[in-house]
Amino acid sequence: MPEDVNLATYNADALTEDLSDAVPAESGTAPQAVPAEAPRVETQQDLSAEIKALGDAYARALKDGAPKETQPRLDFAPYRSSILRHPTKSLHHADPETIELHSPAFGHQDVHALEADLTIQHNGEPQGERIIVAGRVLDGDGRPVAGQLVEIWQANSSGRYIHKRDQHPAPLDPNFTGVGRCITGPDGSYRFTTIKPGAYPWKNHLNAWRPAHIHFSLFGTEFTQRIVTQMYFPGDQLFPLDPIYQSIVDQDARDRLVASYDHDLTEPEWALGYNWDIVLTGCKRTWTENEALGAEGDDHE
């Protein structure tokens, strides 16, 4: 895949985590009002106070009997770019119908087995700590999601994405692209060999740093189960400071994004192992016998 990193796409994208769209519409939306006269640089302290206020309010609501939240808030002002990008109306309940109760099929025409190893995509070995990330994709009823597509992307060990608009002055690694794919096995298992990504700075506020993470994109057996998320590493000191991780206000829910170190996955003289299982939402469709056996895709011949 690295040889075919699409340079047209790479060069054409104008994506950057800048602040141009992230100015709060009115100072009253934030718990701490921003002084009107002078543009003031927002610090980690400002953001941490906002995050704490939202967390405290959630804790009080829980005490008053509110249900536990399991997903990120779409409206989470500490992530400044979300301010103009979250729907203000509640999501409209719909019973999934027909096409939504099925999922696109992916197979070995789509993904080569070698795409699961992000350390062999170039002529040399990438820099950094080699790791194995493995686990299972399950649906909400605990059934393995077999023969489905898993896509990942990440920064290199220095915390630099290959993306043109990532201007973090850390070195690019000519031997690391940071993109991988695989098709889950009959038991829903996936496994990637990669490099532990570094933390990287972004411009949400002054001195904002993202905890090290790997982006994951997953399909289920129904399109309603489609999810894109991020996997984190255990014990990261940046967790309490990160507005994206903290947009999930419930601690148990946040913990579901953190992999576990797994010495059984670690390979001697080679790579450290991390385990992370992913649970999709429940299926809404009545399954046929074949599907229950995991016969979608072409992974089971």
Binding site: A14, R73, S82, L84, R85, P87, W153, T229
Partner: protein, 193 residues
């Protein structure tokens, strides 16, 4: 009721551009092939500005209304219609697909395309639908559309272009905010404060 709690989603972030797009990702059919149409539109934020860093996926039945279960969406062979496509927007917030008009999956049902929306600044993916504008009788009977007031209902129905294509814009917030769907029915998914 599900036994396990779902893993939370997270934003797709700003740097998916070298990972998620792939060759012919937006061409469910080769452009210009018989029956192909262009589906396009613009993604807007709450200030009415186009968003340059959103990525859309569509998943749809074929022209006969059959749900295709064929692999090959990532490596297209130029003949097989798989029903799945992905399109990152460009600098002006515009996405484009080459596809077919979906057929109704059941006789008399309203035909629609299922959509997942991802963007930097969007904490979790959003689901919605694109309905074809024709067949008003079917649209009137549609369970989702008939549960919406007329202003909101409009946001899910594409416009037919002069060249036979479809135009459908997404407004993440504000006036004309697109209807986004919750399939879980828990009321907790993506709770807005």
């Amino acid at each position: 009721m599900s036994k396990l709690t779902a893993t939370p989603g997270q934003t797709v972030g700003p740097f998916y551009g070298y990972a998620l797009p792939y060759d012919k990702d937006r061409e469910l059919l080769a452009p210009g092939s018989p029956g192909s149409i262009r589906l396009q539109g613009t993604v807007y934020d709450g200030a009415g500005h186009p968003i340059p860093d959103a990525i859309l996926e569509i998943w749809q039945p074929d022209a006969e209304g059959d749900i295709v279960r064929r692999t090959g969406s990532l490596v297209r062979d130029a003949y097989t219609f798989t029903g799945f496509g992905r399109s990152a927007v460009g600098n002006t917030g515009v996405y484009t697909f080459t596809t077919v008009n979906p057929g109704p999956t059941e006789p008399g049902a309203a035909a629609f395309i299922s959509v997942a929306v991802f963007a930097r600044g969007l904490m979790n993916r959003l689901f919605t639908r694109i309905y074809l504008p024709e067949n008003e009788e079917a649209l009137a009977k549609d369970p989702l559309l008939s549960s919406l007031d007329p202003e909101r209902r409009k946001t899910l129905i594409a416009r037919r272009d002069a060249d036979g294509g479809l135009t459908w814009d997404i407004r993440l917030q504000g006036e004309g905010e697109t209807v986004f769907l919750d399939f879980e029915g828990t009321g907790t998914e993506g709770a807005s404060q």
